[in-house]
Symmetry: C2
Subunit: 616 residues, 2 copies
């Protein structure tokens, strides 16, 4: 099986040209000397969970943020890393392929070799299985040649996205020790980065010398946090999908007789669906986050779509395009509850044939109401993270069928006077996942690969590589690292009036922010999207000419740059210290005290009101 | 409904840049003066049908081929068309949208206006329905602005692809007369061009002044003939699909656990599937033409796929990608016969619920064997051309299910030792149909639009616009026109030992030529495609840089240029006439006679052996 990995292969014209593309490095990573500046200790965003997290990660929680600066940067406290002994680094693809993953390997390889030609980068073959089985391939220029700027994970392969059981963790440690790795770089999403943090902690505890570094690579875009503006692959996936969605919109408008229901891969969060909507302006999108916030049932959603179809028919429009995130099914309260019951029975070892007979009465009633195809899909075993097999559940077909039934009823009743409702269903996922990565994803992944090296050179453990200020050109990008544990949260479920169950700390999937600017753009335009057919075709992913340098709209409209601001704040505090040195005038000191007192009061009140705690 | 047609709309960056793209004209169409040279009377390729066709089209069969030449071309008999009175031309989209259709309108508009500013181009709104209802929109620069080089048919819309019943034909004639049209241009595929020929004949018979012109625009690529090298839209569709197929290949290779079954839109012929295979090198393709030629049953095909899966598993490959043309179901003998029975019962007015009980015993046995989802799809009413609703029949799921059952059986039996077989099914059609057209399709369609004008200026009726030598650069393209009736064939079915039923003459869909060079390429590579995973990613459709100027492989490998050769032959004959004028030497005359006698003998024998007739 392994013999095919990393084998040079024949490339098409476009692939060849892409293979020659050389991403730029931001100024801070240029040259062979980089400075690291450490910020304050990073804390978890949710202070309520901080205690649990610090307890679970005693060795890796509360480490400082790191900023990588150019050698000439005038920051007195930054540490210049000038020694670059040879290192041995392992790298593994965890979880689903996301366009750009290969460039992380390339960037890391370039950085490693630029600092010491004797360093080695060792790829694990076949993902986490290869890590445990010590199946490796040394990365060389020759191996990389036909994988630079190319999609997929086929240079090294991947298997399950899980290194979590004691057996798996010990296996990983044994591999790292056997191969004498100074560091292990894990490329993956939410689950894999949680695993990376756990490995880092366990390795530190066991005095294993291997440092663990995570890299945010997932098409879902759901690893967003104050430290991570977007993930590698998200841009490409949204571009490829948006192209197809707008092709379908054009098709709908040309034929004027179909409603297209398009389900989009992206796991539980609706980031992909939101971005694709902003790019291609379909008539409707049902975001899981909206459904969850408003506690809409499947019948509410059906009615919403039917009312939309009816409103459009009154304007003589008998066609349309509706987007559905694959995670929607888990956001609909009653379907989620049904899935939970089913998964519970799976957990108890009940066989698939017997599950339906053991459901609670209400769940059973809902189950029996659903069409047979969807029943079969709901009964599938849950994924390793306990979520449903979202890619296999055809929610778009379920909704299309429910809408058709209702529209036929309305037609018969005379309340709907349009043409007979005709739906065509699609699932866009696999056909985008292996795409050639966009320029943005190529650049972002390549720079992240470089950042990984500097994290390793600085001897950091349990960190994720970060690049921020991404909406600006590459020469303005900021590079850094944040402890993965500071991105974690702790889930709480109330079990009765006084008991609360606390989950394990983990990096949890980030939902679409219903108060964010990207969602606001959707909300402001949704009625014209619905009725006016202002379809927009971003066109196929371009590598030259207009569109080649575009970035996700949801990235560009948000005002993020958290890492930049944290650094700016640090600069202000330093300035105050410099100005108000012992020996300064009473007036200056008084002014400083009064100003700082009011600042701290304000901040204290803000923090306490958001967490419900008594101010300090 | 009509108010939205031709409305200026907001374009994306890529769309805007495309809207500014100006296709080139071949030298013969540059300037305002064009010469027409007429060749010999065009005959149908199948001499056996010629009589039937000439009888059905007494006024439009046997007209000469026309070649458009530049003004300065040294062809003594070519006629310079120098008068360009104002004309009124109608244009209508018939049948399914195909990328590039808008450019035919643009090209025709440019040519019309360049020759007489008072001429008018009138678009029919909503396709053939609009033609019958006289719903029109005058094409202007403003209307065209945001539709140049754009996909879809949404500038004018389309409905059914049929103008065939006496009522429809008379309605079309009434519209043409009411609007005082000098010509009607029909943009469409096999069916629509047959209709165009019929309209031309009927109009001529009724002394209606409107000339009818057809344009070969269909994504299926099945309007190929000696006169038509490829159709508008085929290149784009194959590029968009090949991109997605290769993404899926990369995905398969990265995850190594799925078999992807991908069904491709393209009607009964397998041109799209063949071209996509040559572009992206999936593991397998089941061409309908191969299945029909070898009379493979559904069980033969299943076994073929299962054996392939097993052979791959023996090389530790548990993934793969298999392409299936949507027309496959009609190429499988027993399924076709079943469909014919079902359609027969439909024709007799038997309701869907009762059809299964009225099938013949063998058809009923097959029907009951098939999974319920496919039974439901087979029962759908046939299309207007009597073929099954191919886009709705999920042959890929049927095959995936049959293969899974068989692989599970082999696994249990111990003959198959690979991983459990997992299939994921796709249908790629609608998401490609509305795509931005490739540069080639933009150019080809634009030039065809210009050619339409010259056909009209030459006063020709019942012709199709042709552009040949397409694999060469635009400045080498040859422009002409061929009578549609010469592309027709007559189908014969034997009914018992002596009786033969003869069909109506029509332009029939062209199958993939199993003796052609494109198929040969596939055959030579099929075993390495199957076992070696030499997947190739042509990348997303590019408008700049490498790949932007690529053309279909199946177009480039074939040695076509029929129109060029017909012209060349004409030149040779003229030369003989010029050399051997009365007064030439006896020797020359004798040599000419002897040479020509042997040429005619050879040709006579070739023609008679291919048709089974006695040589002349």
């Amino acid at each position: 099986m392994d013999s095919d990995y990393g084998v040079p292969r024949e490339l098409s014209e476009v692939q060849k040209k892409r293979a020659l593309y050389q991403p730029e490095l931001p100024p801070c990573l240029q040259g062979t000397t980089v400075r690291v500046e450490y910020g304050g200790a990073a804390i978890a965003a949710d202070p309520a969970g901080a205690h649990v997290i610090s307890h679970a990660f005693p060795r890796t929680y509360g480490q400082p943020l790191a900023h990588f600066l150019r050698k000439t940067a005038v920051v007195p406290e930054a540490k210049v890393i000038s020694e670059h002994p040879a290192v041995r680094v392992g790298i593994v693809f965890c979880g689903r392929q996301s366009p750009g993953g290969h460039n992380v390997v390339w960037g890391l390889y370039e950085a490693i070799k630029a600092h010491n030609q004797n360093s080695k980068l060792i790829g694990f073959l076949g993902g986490s299985d290869g890590l445990l089985a010590q199946k490796t391939l040394e990365i060389t220029d020759e191996v990389l040649a036909s994988y630079k700027n190319q999609g997929g994970y086929d240079m090294l392969g991947r298997t399950k996205d899980q290194i979590r059981t004691t057996e798996q963790v010990n296996g990983a440690m044994a591999s790292c020790q056997a191969l004498k790795l100074d560091a292990l770089v894990i490329i993956g999403g939410v689950t894999s980065n949680t695993d990376a943090a756990q490995l880092a902690e366990t390795f530190a505890e066991a005095k294993c010398a291997t440092k663990v570094v995570g890299v945010p690579v997932t098409l879902n875009g759901d690893l967003k946090s104050q430290f991570v503006e977007t993930t590698v692959g998200f841009d490409t996936i949204c571009k490829v999908n948006s192209q197809l969605i707008s092709n379908v919109c054009t098709d709908a408008l040309s034929a004027e007789k179909y409603y297209y229901f398009i389900r989009l891969m992206g796991r539980k969060a609706s980031h992909v669906a939101l971005e694709c909507t902003l790019q291609s302006h379909p008539n409707m999108v049902i975001l899981g986050e909206e459904v969850a916030a408003s506690k809409l049932t499947i019948f509410d959603i059906t009615k919403q779509i039917c009312d939309a179809v009816q409103a459009r028919a009154e304007k003589d429009k008998n066609h349309g395009v509706i987007l559905i995130p694959e995670g929607l099914v888990e956001s609909i309260p009653e379907l989620y509850a049904l899935l939970q019951e089913i998964h519970g029975l799976h957990g108890k070892g009940v066989s698939v044939e017997n599950i339906s007979s053991q459901l609670s009465p209400w769940a059973s009633a809902l189950f029996e109401f659903l069409p047979p195809f969807i029943r079969k899909q709901l009964l599938l075993c849950p994924e390793s993270d306990d979520s449903a097999q979202l890619s296999q559940i055809e929610t778009e077909k379920l909704l299309a069928q429910l809408v058709e039934t209702e529209m036929n009823r309305r037609l018969k009743e005379g309340t709907y006077k349009g043409k007979k409702f005709n739906a065509i269903c699609h699932f866009f996922g696999y056909q985008a996942r292996g795409a050639l990565p966009s320029k943005f994803d190529c650049d972002y992944a390549y720079v992240l690969g470089h950042v990984c090296y500097h994290i390793i050179a600085a001897g950091l453990n349990g960190y994720m590589a970060t690049v921020t200020n991404l909406k600006s050109p590459v020469n303005k990008w900021r590079c850094g690292a944040a402890p993965i544990s500071s991105m974690m949260t702790v889930k709480r479920w109330s079990r009765g009036p006084s008991a609360t169950q606390i989950g394990k700390p983990a990096v949890h999937m980030a939902s679409v922010d219903l108060k964010g600017k990207a969602y606001e753009q959707l909300r402001l335009n949704s009625s014209s999207f619905l009725l006016e057919d202002i379809y927009r075709n971003p066109g196929p992913l371009q590598f030259e000419g207009p569109g080649a340098d575009s970035k996700p709209i949801s990235l560009c409209v948000e005002d993020q740059d958290y890492m930049g601001r944290i650094k700016k704040l640090q600069e202000y505090l330093e300035q105050v210290k410099t100005i108000v040195k012992p020996g300064c005038s009473q007036d200056v000191l008084r002014a400083a005290l009064s100003a700082m007192s009011s600042v701290t009061d304000t901040l204290n009140i803000m923090v306490s009101s958001s967490t419900g705690q008594t101010p300090l």
